[in-house]
Symmetry: C2
Subunit: 373 residues, 2 copies
């Protein structure tokens, strides 16, 4: 396998290092705008030099971002090259275009590192689907949010302190919105649910609530009620009805989710015959992420292409009712749905997930968290 | 794939049901001493009728026990048939004979359901080994012990009550020794370590301490110190030195292990590049176990044989020092190694795992538990 590697940042460099020790694959060219030299690979600033190199059969995209990653990946597929990427935003956003294109050309398109970093989550979904159907996927998919929430819970920090500590440690970006607003988790949920259920979810109908409005007072409030807050994704299917959403969720202390520390992930599926299975590990970082990129290269060599057959677009129905903790805003709807209060915060009667998220859109200063059942 | 199914108990019946819905495999004959009739398979009391049936390419062994499972499996391999089994005792005990025999004949030998039931643990080790080396395997591998310890911890039951509840629910056998004395976990550890490290551990040097001497007073003692007891296996490798043991282990409340409820398993590996990964799920039960048997059939169809190349026998060195909780016996050695006491129980200074287990052999009424680091 001859690889054209796009990007030589955290993940790209890790892929280069791991593949350097192998004899079944070789990074032949690296697209990188910086002035570096590599012993075993040609460094180029020109994507065309990779695109037109017929000896390169596989493009590993490790640039991140939507553009020009999208143009490069699309071009590589059109030129007959296999794609391996860790770019969840790219795959979730252009799912309906890139997956059918790869499948129509008989090319591999793999993205295991895009969800769960070092966890073999998407590849396990691929295995699970050989024998059973999956009724639920989801869990803690963003290490940055878990780090912030864990610091607030264990150390009693407020949100701003926990965020700046995460930034100092390199766990959070200077502009943390993609993580803390739930967008990264949203991409990972869409990708997981599409593959687990063999469909393409209507993304616009999948809501995401983030953690940026949580306060130390909320965390004390949760503790007093024996609860721990995590940012969690949920995707379900039953009888052709699909539900999917991202939201802070409160677990009883003692639940597996509540025990997930620092920047780790815990991702869960519910299988028709195997039951509940959860996968715990490093959701990000150079080597864990590069590890699954290289795993995908090995899988491709073994003839594995995508994880499932591309499935048609399906609607999302979030009419399922949950109980929520709400603080920071009020109106007639919330008052009508208030079951009790915890130190000024509202605990709702069961309300539809879609309704709660619609309310949050109109009350963006509020913090909401579902109470796990 | 034409299957000869040995045994029609809990697991065998599950395999029959799951395969009945597939068109890539078929249970052609079932070895069963009871008088049953099946719509799609011939039932026989005579193993020879399976052995000499050339249309049967794969034998699924779901009888359990060492004999005649061993004779049947060995005979089937010699007759050129692939083997799929969930029998951990069989594979761990005859590892040095059956694996080389299967490999010399180019036959598949798979046993994913033997460790972790419905968790794809051994198949994940197979995947991990494609890219990295593993330095540690282990965890909570026995649902019966976890159920008993969890009941004692959450409900305050004493050992006898928790055991008889587990027996009433079908989680424990009438003679529970294989589970509560750590033998089942010991088999699973040996199998996991052999595959993860690509060796054959010297089984006689792998000690197992069980849970049958634990009391409600011990559990209260642990709670007072913020600890939760689990039966845990550990296998490590570093620089060609291998360590392996099974023992009750005390985790801080809040640790992932401490949160594993009822009869679930949590199995962990530490990978050179992927870091720590843990796998949580149903470690036993008809459908979870049968699920991974069928997964192995699918893997075999895809050309996957065993999980690793058979590796030569290696010594086990348990000189690593740990701190232990000890109650129920005393002597000069224990007194010399006492660091403190908790309500009459000894907390040792760090002592070698091998020494602690040797002491336990001479003091079989004692209960020991390592304190996790």
């Amino acid at each position: 396998m001859k690889i054209g590697l796009l990007g030589f940042g955290v993940v790209g460099r890790g892929v280069y290092e791991i593949t350097a020790a192998r004899d079944d694959m070789q990074v032949a060219k690296v697209l990188c705008l910086e002035d570096i030299q590599l012993p075993d690979a040609e460094v180029t600033r020109d994507f065309q030099s990779i695109l037109t190199d017929d000896s390169i059969d596989t493009v590993v995209e490790a640039m991140g971002g939507l553009h020009p990653a999208y143009e490069f990946v699309r071009g590589a597929l059109e030129a007959g090259k296999n794609i391996i990427t860790s770019n969840k935003a790219l795959v979730a956003t252009f799912y309906d275009e890139l997956i059918p294109l790869a499948q129509s050309k008989g090319l591999a398109f793999r993205c295991t590192a895009a969800v769960g970093g070092g966890i073999g989550w998407l590849s396990e979904l691929e295995r699970v689907r050989r024998v059973e159907t999956v009724s639920m996927v989801g869990g803690i998919m963003n290490g940055t949010c878990n780090y912030i929430l864990d610091s607030m819970t264990r150390l009693g920090l407020d949100y701003a302190e926990a965020l700046s500590q995460a930034q100092a440690l390199g766990y959070a970006e200077r502009n943390p919105s993609t993580d803390v607003d739930g967008i990264d988790t949203w991409h990972k949920l869409i990708l997981s649910a599409n593959i687990a259920f063999g469909v393409s979810l209507d993304r616009d109908a999948v809501p995401a609530a983030g953690i940026s409005k949580i306060s130390a007072a909320d965390v004390s409030n949760f503790k007093e009620h024996g609860l721990t807050c995590k940012l969690v994704s949920t995707g379900t299917q039953a009888d052709g009805v699909y539900s999917a959403y991202v939201q802070p969720t409160l677990y009883p202390q003692g639940a597996l989710e509540a025990a997930v520390p620092t920047n780790f992930n815990l991702i869960t599926l519910d299988g028709e015959v195997s039951g509940r299975q959860s996968f715990y590990g490093q959701g990000a970082g150079r080597y864990p992420t590069a590890y699954n990129v290289v795993q995908d290269c090995v899988s491709q060599l073994a003839g594995k292409k995508f994880y499932c057959a591309y499935g048609e677009k399906v609607n999302v129905d979030n009419s399922v009712k949950l109980t929520y903790y709400v603080r920071g805003a009020s109106d007639a709807w919330l008052e009508a749905n208030t079951a009790e209060t915890w130190d000024g915060a509202v605990i709702t009667a069961p309300v539809a997930v879609a309704d709660m998220h619609a309310w949050l859109k109109n009350n963006p200063e509020a913090f909401i968290a579902a109470i796990a059942e």
